[in-house]
Symmetry: C2
Subunit: 342 residues, 2 copies
DNA sequence: GAACTATTTGTAAGCGCTTCCAACAAAAAT
DNA sequence: ATTTTTGTTGGAAGCGCTTACAAATAGTTC
């Protein structure tokens, strides 16, 4: 064992074992034929010298890094952390490392990260960003970096897509709401820069309302629990009723708590729900109704698709995840006989 | 712009610009002297060829990767995500990338990850693991990988430490509880494999009780919100009173919700608090009392320490974070005149 | 304008590994 | 005993870059 010494190289191992570089390389890569005797000899000197192959040099020589770049807005959202977790599990199974690129919801930073991904020489990338358009992203494909793009359709030979589908369930939920006894005005919580998914849902929300000729509101709010909570505490001083749809459940939780803390009853006076559902939705009381997609599964799926892409064995280049309605106590169940509604 | 072509190398740039490799290298690294005229010429051909230096080759040649390895149990905990977020911010500021190594709370995997960190040729590492002992970790230092170790004292020339201090506040809180009107039996929620921090706190908890001659309980529970919630729903059928200390706030939230949902009053019948405090603590009702440390700050600090370590400018090799008592409504405030206790 | 210095550029040797190809030895076939 | 086949090794080039060091050019000074 060497302590505080310079890195042991394959050359030193070869010398110590009395063989050539090539032979050592063969035993560490377990390929090519080596006599059991010499293999053992080499393995022993590797162990006694404490040799570790340099991933860098290997990568340069083989043109494979076994490294995947992951582009996300920030690790600080639970749904992103879930997504990351899914990726991590599969990456470990498949022997890949992950390099994180976080864009902080800024288009500029996102572009910069894409550049970084390209020069960082990753074998592939998973891109879950909400600021770039498909042209920005297809740029990465032109540099021969296989990529799986989340929540966006980007085409290219080495690009696969994971798409979310909130449309159907959102539309259906809104229409059912009005067709039963929906007596509250619906509001959609708009968050600046929250990205495509939200923007798309917002459009659907508006469209559904216009189709039904119903009045609605768009409320601008902050992507922060505390600020949203404070805002709604103020809001509920004058507005004592409403149905709110937020992007993330932690924002919905802010509305819910503000309502409860303002002496309102959820769901009688105020109904709330969100698109993204994480553990927050289960922890609040009443629990939150969400249109949910399991982000852990999305991460896993994305990583599987990427490894298939790298092995040229990916057949279906687009995966679609349909949001499911997960009922909580924050809305009134309007299905069937409405047992909860008195 | 080249599309779908092989990587453009520095050699091609040199040739196209009619200069030598060395000159191109000088302009991309902005060092050594180059005539403005040739610089421009080179920059132009770089742009027109769409050349990007290979980080890999640079790293191999300079022996610097500008890459930091981050070892964590899992990204799926909010406090870890917060920590990661702090690291990310500083890393971006300092121009480092992050490679993630997740150990899944397994000692075996953790050891494996340490090996990976070593051969991945990172410039440094931040290690927040709960399974390894200091000997395991000091192993990494012997391979000349500068490291900042979280929540553990590891010594070595190139090792720095970030330590947490829950002892004082925990001891003080327990003793104050009994010296005022603490009438409920205290229980500590033990989670298998949750690591050092918890184990240490548990010891302190027991010690404080023995010093005061008070009865206490250790409850084994799962590191999962749902399972803990179910367990305590059962538990509260027969036990209608108690003071519970959990490790993470989401576990504490499970106890809190189970109590409320069982018709108990928090904090009158059941008091709950946790060591780690995240957004969960603010979202539940009543809010949770926690012994909190701002993990985002911990991440930032760790990364600053690491960059200083890499620049040989780190003076204080140990940083200590004291946990603060953050009062929520899940416990009865026993300071002063106990206004909430009627 | 010669002698010298400062600045800009090119040459070539690595960084630590893989891998093709040739060389050789041992086993099998004739 | 000789040729062919199979299996095991070593030599050497190359992955894309950096960086002494040498060479060449331009700029000073007397």
């Amino acid at each position: 064992m060497n302590n505080e010494k310079d890195r042991v190289t394959i050359y030193q191992v070869a010398k110590a074992a009395g063989v050539s570089l090539a032979t050592v390389s063969r035993v560490i890569n377990k390929q090519g034929s080596v006599t059991p005797a010499t293999r053992k000899k080499v393995e022993d000197t590797i162990a006694s010298l404490g040799y570790r192959p340099s991933g860098l040099a290997q990568a340069l020589a083989t043109n494979r890094t076994t490294n995947i770049g992951v582009v996300i807005p920030s690790a600080n959202y639970v749904y992103i952390a879930n997504f990351l977790n899914g990726i991590t599990d599969v990456a470990k199974e498949k022997g890949y490392s992950l390099t994180l690129f976080s864009t902080s919801h800024s288009r500029e930073e996102a572009l910069q990260m894409i550049e970084k991904v390209i020069s960082s020489h990753v074998d592939g990338a998973i891109i879950f960003d909400d600021q770039l358009d498909s042209e920005d992203i297809s740029h990465i494909a032109s540099y021969n970096v296989p990529a799986v793009v989340i929540d966006q359709k980007v085409s290219g030979e080495k690009v696969a897509n994971v798409l979310f589908n909130y449309d159907a369930i959102l539309d259906q939920t809104i229409k059912r709401y009005y067709s039963r006894r929906g007596d509250k005005k619906m509001s959609f919580l708009h968050v600046h820069n929250a990205g495509r998914l939200l923007a798309h849902a917002e459009k659907k929300f508006i469209k559904a309302h216009e189709e039904m000729g119903k009045d609605y509101a768009i409320i601008n709010c902050d992507d922060s629990y505390t600020r949203t909570y404070n805002y709604f505490c103020e809001y509920f001083k004058t507005n004592r009723k409403g149905f709110f749809i937020a992007y993330r459940d932690s924002i919905a939780a802010a509305v819910l708590n503000a309502a409860t803390d303002s002496g309102l009853n959820v769901p009688k006076d105020v109904e709330v729900m969100s698109l993204v559902g994480t553990k927050y939705a289960h922890i609040v009381r009443p629990t939150l109704t969400t249109f949910s997609i399991d982000m852990n599964e999305v991460g896993k799926r994305a990583m599987y698709m990427l490894t298939d892409l790298l092995n040229h064995s990916l057949v279906e280049k687009t995966a679609k995840f349909d949001a499911e309605l997960v009922r909580g106590g924050s809305t009134i169940d309007r299905s069937g006989s409405d047992p909860d509604y008195r």
